[in-house]
């Protein structure tokens, strides 16, 4: 079975407005802000929802445009390599038979828009702008070839489905709300199993199915205090951490034998 390969094209945006948000040639400008740029994971962290606010600034040349804007927000978490495996029945038991490696893919991915993506832009634009889980670039290594495959590829769709079940991938086509024709907000739900690191937020504004302008912002998810201390020590001082943990175990065992001593 040969998967239809769609060769990886670097996400190069050809729109001038996209690259130079404040350029004079642009009719619209996006101003956005995330409710919290630093999400802290504390002992009682169990998921959090961030809010992204923004507004579309229009200059005089835009006055001609009377239609409604469409907005697509893509939040991508720290990138990592993942493996998707498929089980098959061999010799009467189910074993991992085939696998695909996904290279440098976002550990978290949330795509929000104000209406279904097929109404926002044509399939061609959606693919070029990587709008939606079906169009985001997920590079696989197949043998020596590096490529993304069609959205219906069984490994790709299983990967997206499993990440979605864990709340790590998400496509919500009604999550962006326009409060006024130019003022919008959307939620960014972070699950309990949140990956630690920097999250890029990509906001793209569409008018009449074409990219009008885009902007980026970011936030980070960090461990603080006790969580950070433990995680750092475990990572950077493995031996000391191991010895301390073993000592803790021995102390607990010894205390228990003293407390519960009956002879």
């Amino acid at each position: 079975m040969m998967p239809h390969l769609r060769h990886a094209v670097a996400g190069l945006t050809l729109s001038l407005c996209g690259l130079f948000g404040a350029d004079d040639a642009c009719a619209e400008r996006l101003i956005v802000s995330v409710s919290n740029h630093r999400v802290t994971v504390t002992p009682n962290y169990s998921g959090e929802e961030l809010v992204l606010f923004g507004s579309v600034e229009r200059d005089d040349t835009a006055a001609a445009f009377r239609g409604n804007y469409d907005l697509v927000v893509t939040v991508s978490g720290p990138r990592t390599d993942m493996v998707t495996r498929r089980k098959e029945r061999r010799f009467g038991i189910w074993i991992n038979a085939d696998s695909r490696q996904f290279l440098n893919v976002p550990s978290y991915l949330a795509i929000s828009s104000n209406r279904p993506l097929d109404l926002v832009a044509s399939p061609d634009v959606r693919r070029r702008q990587q709008l939606g889980l079906d169009n985001v670039l997920l590079t696989q290594r197949i043998g020596t070839d590096y490529a993304d495959v069609v959205a219906s590829d069984p490994f790709r769709s299983a990967f997206v489905r499993l990440r979605t079940e864990h709340g790590l991938y998400r496509e919500a086509t009604s999550a962006v709300t326009f409060l006024t024709p130019t003022l919008f907000r959307t939620g960014i739900p972070l699950p309990a199993e949140v990956p630690i690191g920097t999250y890029d937020v990509d906001i793209k504004l569409f008018a009449n199915g074409a990219l009008a302008t885009q902007t980026q912002t970011a936030f980070e998810v960090v461990k603080v205090g006790f969580e950070q201390f433990i995680a750092n020590t475990a990572r950077h001082h493995g031996l000391a951490y191991g010895l301390a943990t073993a000592m803790m175990a021995l102390m607990t065992g010894w205390i228990a034998s003293v407390v519960f001593r009956r002879d």
């Binding site: 009682n44 390599d81 991992n96 490994f155 475990a234 493995g238 803790m248 175990a249 607990t252």
Partner: protein, 308 residues
């Protein structure tokens, strides 16, 4: 009460973990085993990655086997010489096991090997113990002598060279089978994430004819040392020991073990073996079912470099 685990990177309910530690501690106190073969699958079941579960359970077993070993030490029922000879083989076995563990992880077949070894070992040991327990009960019903095994009976194992005297156990035995058993326990422990006393105890009793008075204490002393080594090794190589998870588990574990030990004293030995056999068999069957029936989801996603 939810608590975010710093290494496992997921929030868990503290009372659930505490209860799991207590339940497994109860079982381990009752039968004199570490309980890793119960705790590791339980932790994986609640969503902790297999590698973190294996690493943190070893810390938990270190704590519970120390409190057990101390009380056996006071009763003078630990054969230190025997434990040391076993340990020699066990360290080599652990290193070999860790190497195979790493290799299988790159192949993507670690889950299968863990499941298969649970099925084969737990199924085998569980069936044997269950059968032996039933026979002992039947013998007791007929009014016969419940201890038919004479400690003096010899097998080919006792004909091997390099003999050594183990004073506390009052046996005179070749170091070769002792080292081999230690090696196997270390190897199995590293692969399955268990202390291995559920295999060590029967091996000491049935193969080496170690008297029951020193078996459990010696097994606990060996488990204590190997699990401390395993904790430090896991911390250095994988950075996956979750100290917070381990602490909650061990607090539950040592408490549960006290009640388990008291309950164990009130149950007759053959009934205890029957129960333990059933328990071990049940875990083995659960793993057999898992690999024999079609899984709900044929696909799994894992971090390429990380857990499991």
């Amino acid at each position: 009460m939810q608590l975010y685990l710093p290494i496992a990177d997921i929030p868990v309910n503290v009372f659930l973990i505490l209860a799991m530690g207590m339940a497994v501690g109860f079982v381990s106190g009752m039968f004199g085993i570490g309980g890793g073969f119960l705790l590791t699958p339980l932790l994986i079941f609640i969503g902790i990655s297999p590698a973190v579960a294996v690493a943190s359970v070893s810390t938990h077993i270190a704590a519970s086997s120390l409190s057990g070993a101390l009380s056996y030490w006071r009763k003078r029922s630990i054969d230190l010489t025997l434990a040391l000879v076993l340990l020699g083989g066990s360290i080599v076995g652990t290193i070999l096991g860790v190497l195979l563990f790493t290799y299988l992880r790159t192949l993507g077949q670690l889950d299968l090997v863990i499941a298969l070894s649970y099925v084969v070992l737990l199924g085998g040991v569980g069936t044997a113990m269950f059968y032996e327990g039933l026979r002992a009960i039947a013998r007791a019903r007929r009014g016969g002598n419940p201890t038919l095994r004479r400690p003096g009976s010899h097998s080919w194992v006792h004909g091997l060279p390099l003999k050594m005297r183990f004073k506390r156990s009052k046996i005179y035995l070749s170091v070769i089978p002792v080292n081999i058993i230690g090696l196997l326990i270390g190897f199995i422990g590293a692969i399955m994430g268990v202390g291995g006393s559920f295999i060590l105890i029967p091996a000491l009793i049935y193969v080496l004819r170690v008297p029951t008075s020193t078996v459990i204490g010696t097994s606990m002393a060996l488990t204590l040392v190997t699990m401390v080594i395993a904790t430090v090794l896991h911390a250095i190589t994988n950075h996956l020991v979750d100290a917070v998870l381990a602490l909650i588990l061990m607090i539950g574990g040592v408490t549960g073990a006290q009640f388990g030990a008291r309950a164990g004293l009130r149950i007759r030995g053959e009934h205890l073996r029957l129960l333990l056999g059933l328990l071990i068999l049940a875990v083995g069957v659960r793993f057999a079912v898992e690999i024999a029936i079609r899984p709900d989801d044929l696909y799994t996603v894992r971090d390429a470099g990380g857990a499991g």
